[in-house]
Amino acid sequence: MLPVFPVVLPLFAAALLAALTKLVSQRLSQGIAIAATLATLGIESYLLHASAEQPIVYWFGNWLPRHGIALGISFTVDPIGAGLGTFASVLTLAALVFSSKYFDAAGNHFHALLLAFLAAMCGFCLSGDMFNMFVFFELMSAAAFALCGYKTEDPGSLQGSLNFAVTNTIGAYFVLSGIGLLYARTGALNMAQMGRALGAGPLDSLVLIGFVFIVCGYLIKAAVVPFHFWLADAHAVAPTPICILFSGVMVEMGLFALARIYWDVFNHALHPHLAGLRTLFVTIGVVTAFIGAFMCYLQRNVKRLLAFSTISHIGLMTIGVGLFTPEGLAGAAVYTLGHGAVKAGLFLVAGILLHRFESVDEFDLYAKGRRQRWTAAVFFAGGIALCGLPFSGLAAGDDLVHAAAAATGFNWVRLISLFAGAVTSAAVLRAGGRIFFGWGPAGDQSSAPKHEEKPETERGHDHTPATMFVPAAALVAAGLLVGLTPNLKPAASTAAMQFENTNAYATRVLDAQPAPAPLPPRPAPTEIFSGLLTVLGAITIAAVHLFSDRARDISAAIAKPLQLLHQIHSGHVGDYVAFLTFGMACFGLLCAYCFR
């Protein structure tokens, strides 16, 4: 019964809020939403704990498989999925607390939509059925599009939300096409059963392109290059509490889907081409990390800056998942926690700045934050944590990914994370230096054009309420401290091994046999040196940028050719769709001809 709750409890609360929309006060509605989220959080963390030994399989309506053929829908709870669901509940809680000041004419729909969003994310993480995952993907999108366009008085908000909706709906279309192709081949929607059928059958272009369609559709949500364009637009316009969910966990859901689909469905069929797939996904990850980092450094709107930094970090997580080893997946999972918490905290600081000074523009805010000592402390702590400060959550993820990369012959991956971490973190430190200390000049040639940002709150701009500050500080602290959890890395590795044991998963789901106990994981060493080097690099870049005129000239000269990159991110949804089509076609042709 328990696996059902993370989905139906928030949905029921959402329906309740919608039914009582004009009867209950905003405050009460927020209280109901928080209570539902807390309950979801409790159940998800119990599931995380309870599934550590064995995946929990729950057949809705008690439609058990007959002769190895799944009739109904199953939830298959494992620690990676339950962990992601737990994390989604934590961030939803933070968003709900932070949004106390966001009350206006929206009625209770804001809270109800947030709960539907949470339910969809939980369902997506727990489902063991390909089509059921798609249903929750759609539910997630329906809630996200509306929440993204919340600030309806701002015309930019409509455009950002529309770009998000168009690109992600195209993604959904491709996912559905892929599911259709595979259903035609396997006659199954249960992922374990599909995996068995594909492993027994031939690997032809139908299977390969089914893989491409489903994976690309989900990678649009994950915002990897060249599917990343919507992300910065959506983050720039979405209300800050929604940004933390987008950046912290929704985007990562796309990568979770890649892992789930590869390991449960395609592992047997695609195993002969594992080396090629590794190269493909590591390349995608590297390109994403670079483009995200460059674009991040060029921004002056703090929310856009953080959004591009998310793209860069997603690149690093794509490498982790795309190495297709237990350490790689474990690394990406831990990285998600570390990155998500820190990035959410940084977004909330941007929300606090918007609340206090009605702007998130680095130059408009120049030296305005001088008296915000505590906010500044949170911002700088987040900035440093973002580049993988040793022993932080991000660093723990990095350690695991680097160990996985070394084991598969991609030793140079650590250089990529050093570079991307240093540049994205330097951008945050640079913006923080300007805003909170008034360092450096008040204007700059190399940066992007200005975007106007409407304030999100109405009253009380002369102080920062605790409901805004506490979630921000708590999230950054959590991101730093989660890396100190003694058992984090081995537990994540064990969970990843369980996740990637395709045969055990299938027998557990279809034959109700217990899965074998996983082997003890290999320890991943803590890399203090490269972490410190990244921190040093970030501080150096930021300091040189702020204090050296000549360096600014040089960076302006470097930024000139990067203007082309800027122009590509035009905000025109037609451009985005063209790139998306291009990426999809390349991916499809590559897979169809290289992996035959």
């Binding site: 309506g61 929440l147 199954a188 037609g574 063209a578």
Partner: protein, 250 residues
Amino acid sequence: MTRRVRKIFFLLSAAALVWVFFLAYSPLAPFGYVQSKYGDMVNAITVPERHITDAVTAVNFDVRGFDTLGEEFILFTSVMGVLLLMRRQKDEPAGDHEDKAADRMIPPASDAVRVTSLLLIAPTVLFGLYIVTHGQVTPGGGFQGGVILSTAPLLLYLCADYRPFRRAVPQRLIEASEAFGAAAYILIGGACVALGGLFLQNSLPLGQSGSLTSGGMVPFINLGVGLEVSGGLSLALLVYLEELLEEKEQ
């Protein structure tokens, strides 16, 4: 990108993608070849085990009923999203936007339209209810019937003017019943647990196959879905009409 560059870039990529689609679909099994045992298995169990004569309904509301719960909430969430995005801003005075095209008029409805609409309302409601309640017997169910039911307010609008129509339609009640319809799915699923089964495990008496009361929980779910779908679509209609017409009238 300029318009021209974008067009060329897109068309070239789309051509390549067409080739990808061709590669994907060419190894498909020939037409009429049945790969899957699923259909046969479902056909073999719906009547004996569930007393449901419409196999599609059996799959949608019983065997894979949890998918349909998610789909119902997609509609519910979308309608909430519409309500959120179309809300009137605090500083947005009603009737602020004048229609700039002075010659664009709403043509008054002719008497023929009014009378026909009035006559159609009752049969439409009846037909909608028929489709909602017969899902377990013949093709149909809450989604299809709900859509038919939601055309009743539209007919009402056609046979009266906007103001009387607005007065006649109880928006609060529709909002509440829509949410209740959505919640009902979860309540029924939970009731199955209370009766000692798993979530959405059909534990009610199954009734006589082919009758209105067959299928255990399925007719109840269909009623809830019908309420949700008709309410949701009516709400969306109301909100759009409000946006369009209140501006016109002032």
